[in-house]
């Protein structure tokens, strides 16, 4: 049986500016799927973007190449990733005037 684990990376968190998620170790997994549940998104032209980032050491980061399509409404969004090495995080951009987002971010890993 293949191991799997779901980590809640952000829990009912609110942001008014760009942010990166906390580093998460995933060397044991061969596949990953991010979920972003945008529960509230407010502000004129508010839009959330998220790029997948990888790291050799959990300290220095670069883009992996995958990104979510821009999120402009409350909804559940998802993105699959493979060949990511030992760490994953999301680099998130929040655009718009007086933008505010409340969300859940999950990382689902499978051996």
């Amino acid at each position: 049986m293949r191991h799997s684990f779901t980590a809640v990376i952000e829990k009912n968190a609110t942001f008014q500016e760009d942010f990166e998620t906390e580093p998460y170790e995933c060397a044991w997994a061969s596949e990953a799927r991010w979920f972003i549940n945008v529960m509230e998104l407010e502000g004129d032209g508010a839009k959330l973007s998220a790029r997948v980032q990888v790291s050799p050491d959990g300290i220095f980061w670069c883009d992996e190449g995958s990104r979510f399509e821009p999120m402009s409404e409350p909804e559940l969004y998802s993105l699959a990733v493979r060949d990511f090495g030992g760490w994953l995080r999301l680099d998130c951009e929040l655009d718009g005037t007086d933008a505010n987002v409340r969300l859940m971010i999950y990382l689902v890993l499978k051996e």
Binding site: H3, V8, K11, N12, Y24, E25, A27, W28, P56, G86
Partner: protein
């Protein structure tokens, strides 16, 4: 003991006769999960101290300067990681129930680190001298604790909590073992307006900890943030006396039988025979703190 000695992976432990769990994190997290506070489905109801206790990770102990460190055996350990924010706390819990009153023992091989930082030494901090590294002062504390509830009657519930305090709230080295002198503020208490700083899951105020007699101990941080040395820990507590019995960490064994363990005056519903075991790490700096467990054995005499 015969069983433990016959198994090379168990021979570094000293379990009681019945092993309830042998959690070798080379093959998963074994039910150690993020602690979350009580809510009614609306996560806005979570009390601040319970909102963000971080998911446990399976770590390779990989560092920027030397790559993968690995664990005592195999590659993986369980890692608890704080955010890089003063007084943030990461908490993992394993949830069991007890079939009888009696002794329960928690054993682990563990290590701890603060995240590597670059440049920008803290003002006034003791400088790197080739042996001492200022990273050691970035590490706050780690705590092992339980949550026990025998039934629904008043005074059936209690928490024993033992903390290794590397630095105090002001970031000064203390390097000692503590026990708590205040109740764990539960969600029900906090919803009722209980006065709490809400930055330590164990107590309402930072002065609600006291030193364990004979509990001064310097652990093996090992000079830099990228070398890990694994430590043996054995914590014995007694469900029949509702007390700790003893704590052994390497060559130091502390007799805890006279250490008071506070009980809740009110009764709690729906948690009869609760036997939760928890570990956490709490930073006293704006640097991520990590607690790693190579493996855990939980055993009982019943």
């Amino acid at each position: 003991m015969a069983l433990a000695n016959a198994d090379i992976r168990l021979s570094r432990f000293n379990p009681l006769p019945r092993i309830l769990a042998f959690d070798d994190f080379d093959d998963g997290l074994h039910g150690w999960c993020e602690l979350v506070g009580n809510h009614n489905g609306d996560l806005n109801e979570l009390q601040p101290v319970f909102r963000d206790m971080r998911p446990a990770q399976l770590s390779t102990c990989t560092f920027f300067d030397m790559g993968t460190h690995g664990a005592v055996d195999g590659t993986y350990s369980m890692k608890l990681a704080t955010r890089p924010r003063k007084f943030h706390q990461a908490v993992a819990i394993k949830r069991l129930t007890s079939a009888a009153d009696g002794l329960v023992q928690f054993e682990a091989w563990f290590t701890y680190k603060a995240e590597q930082t670059f440049g920008g030494d803290d003002p006034g901090a003791r400088a790197w001298d080739g042996n001492y590294h200022p990273s050691e002062a970035h590490f706050g504390s780690f705590t092992l604790w339980n949550d026990i509830c025998e039934g629904t009657e008043p005074r059936d519930r209690y928490h024993a909590a033992l903390r290794y305090e590397n630095t105090n709230e002001d970031g000064e080295f203390t390097q000692r073992w503590l026990y708590k002198t205040g109740l764990h503020p539960t969600t029900r208490m906090l919803r009722g307006g209980f006065d709490s700083n809400q930055n330590d899951v164990h107590v309402a105020k930072p002065d609600m900890w006291a030193p364990i007699p004979g509990g001064d101990q310097q652990l093996c941080f090992n000079e830099v943030p990228t070398k890990v040395n694994w430590h043996y820990l054995r914590w014995l507590f007694d469900l029949s006396t509702r007390r700790n019995t003893e704590l052994q960490v390497n060559d130091l064994t502390m007799d805890l039988r006279e250490i008071p363990v506070l009980r809740f005056d009110e009764g709690y519903w729906g948690i009869s025979r609760l036997l939760n075991l928890c570990m956490d790490v709490r930073t006293t700096s704006n640097v991520r703190n990590f607690l790693y467990l190579d493996s855990v054995v939980i055993s009982a005499d019943w």
